[in-house]
């Protein structure tokens, strides 16, 4: 009877250990997925650029006295 109790306690400890291990692995996986590993590209290079030219303003400037 005492032996059975000891076995059950060992199993409970192992199951708890396994759960903790799975949680740890999950956390590690999440952290590894979200960690920035690539070399940073400067914000200046990624800055959006408007390719349109303000033609009406250009025309206004052209109409002014040089």
């Amino acid at each position: 009877m005492r032996k059975n109790k000891t076995d059950r306690q060992v199993v409970v400890v192992l199951v708890m250990t396994l759960m903790a291990l799975v949680a740890w692995v999950g956390f590690e996986v999440y952290r590894a997925y979200n960690l920035v590993n690539i070399s940073p590209v400067s914000d200046k290079q990624l800055l959006e650029l408007s390719p349109t030219l303000d033609i009406p303003s250009l025309e206004k400037l052209e109409s002014r006295i040089p």
């Binding site: 199993v11 192992l14 199951v15 996986v29 590993n37 690539i38 390719p51 400037l61 006295i65």
Partner: protein
Amino acid sequence: MAQLDYKSSLAQYRRYLAAVREQPLFAASLGLVLSLTLIIILVSAALRPTLVTIASLLGDIKQQSEVEKRLDKKIAEVTAAQAEYLKNESRLKVLDEALPMGRKYAAWGMRLEDVASGSGVKITEWSLLEGKDFSVSLTGDVAGLKRFLATMENLRRLVEIESVQLAKEKELTLVVKGVLKSYEEK
């Protein structure tokens, strides 16, 4: 005598092991404990590094694809801007005249003197602070001063006129204060 005791103890222990092995509960729990131990070892030693590496690589791919998407967009914008620039290249010199790089106030000053002489007024005093805050005093008749002011406002080089004062002393004097605009890269 001691040898006999040893043999009897061994036989007793063998009987105990035989009896214990026949108990299904013990056999099951032993298998369970060993399986759990093996799983724990495998998860910590083999599965964890593999999963971490896979997640790290997937994260890298995701980040790289985001950067690639933004760079592709930027390249498309630069290409479109280049086409627009080539289309209007000849007209863009107007921008250099309106908002030159650097202060370039000397050419503007000379142009203003031309305008003053063309309008029939005389520049009596000049001041230019830090190459941009200017103050010009002129004398002349009303029509000439009006002509000068109208031409100055319409000059291609952009200026922001902050104040205009007309005073009658010995002669009619006009004082124009403002800011000379130029392109400054941020």
